[in-house]
Amino acid sequence: MNFIKSLVLLLLSMASYTAVAVEYRKFDQPEQEAVYKVLIEELRCLVCQNQTIADSNAELAQDLRRQVYEMLQQGKSKDEIAEFMTQRYGDFVLYNPPFKAKTGLLWIGPVVFLVIGLVMLFLFTRRKRNTQNIKLTEEEIKQKTKIRNLLNDEAEQ
């Protein structure tokens, strides 16, 4: 119980830490602020590759947040800003990359592997059932009972 409590406390302290990392931005329209929050959660910080620019306090992340903010102030839309970033950093900058030839494997890959897994599962389970249904010849049945008996004798001893 104590462990869980301390874990929760630790997580809470981390949450407040990330909140500190993001500087205060003043927006005239609440819609713009909403778009800002969505965008900084969707853009990857390329220095610290597994963080969004909202999570990261790297200089580049700060600069990119400033860029997003300024473009919103200029009245740019969410798509225009995403386009701006992709032109410079490639699709990798988006946590939610568009589906196209280059990113196809990324999107389809997991499905393909799931299908391969299911097919293999199906094949292997079916093979197992087949082996259980094989009819034994008379000779084999005799051998089988012989083995059983031997094993039973062993167990009794």
């Binding site: 390329l46 590759q49 580049l60 600069d63 410079r88 950093y89 490639g90």
Partner: protein, 176 residues
């Protein structure tokens, strides 16, 4: 037969994927700028108060755009290699002094040598964003028409210089 071969084949396939994965550099993100026009800039020149350099002034030359900073540790690794390149007078070397203090930058060059024909200052990192800079040092090669032809992320080593950069520079010099 299949029963024995299947795990072997599975293992080989996985080994190939893992080997590929280990050999790829996750920091090497392909730049969308390759074969695109180099983004415009108009930046103050380091060490020459009042002078501004624009990208258009470089049209007609093959030039290297090398992103560096005095705070950047791995820039020290590639610096001697650029010093050597500068001696060969093969190509125009333009430095992008990225998010740096001018005084610290000047001192750095005074200490380690200045391979650049000219360095421009991007103190706010805006030109850096336009060039998709995410890990200093970075090196771009731009052809006579102002098209980005190559990008190298991280320090350029002797091998890269000999086998990739210099041959490409020579090839681009030969283009009209």
């Amino acid at each position: 037969m299949f029963k024995y071969l299947a795990p072997l084949v599975l293992f080989i396939v996985m080994a190939i994927f893992l080997a590929l994965g280990l050999n790829l550099n996750p920091r090497d993100i392909p730049s969308p700028l390759i074969n695109q026009a180099a983004p415009d800039f108009s930046l103050p020149v380091l060490g020459q108060t009042g002078r501004v350099l624009t990208k258009d002034a470089l049209i007609g030359d093959v030039w290297i755009f090398n992103v560096w900073a005095s705070w950047c540790g791995s820039c020290r690794i590639e610096h001697p290699i650029f010093n050597q390149l500068a001696k060969k007078k093969l190509v125009t070397l333009v430095g992008l002094n990225y998010k740096d203090e001018p005084e610290a930058a000047k001192q750095w060059l005074a200490q380690l040598g200045n391979p650049y024909d000219i360095s421009v200052m991007d103190q706010e990192g805006r030109t850096g964003i336009d060039y998709g800079v995410y890990g200093v040092p970075e090196t771009f090669i731009i052809d006579k028409k102002g098209i980005v032809r190559y990008k190298h992320t991280g320090p350029v080593e002797v091998y890269d210089m000999q086998n990739t950069l210099i041959p490409l520079i020579k090839q681009l010099q030969a283009e009209i």
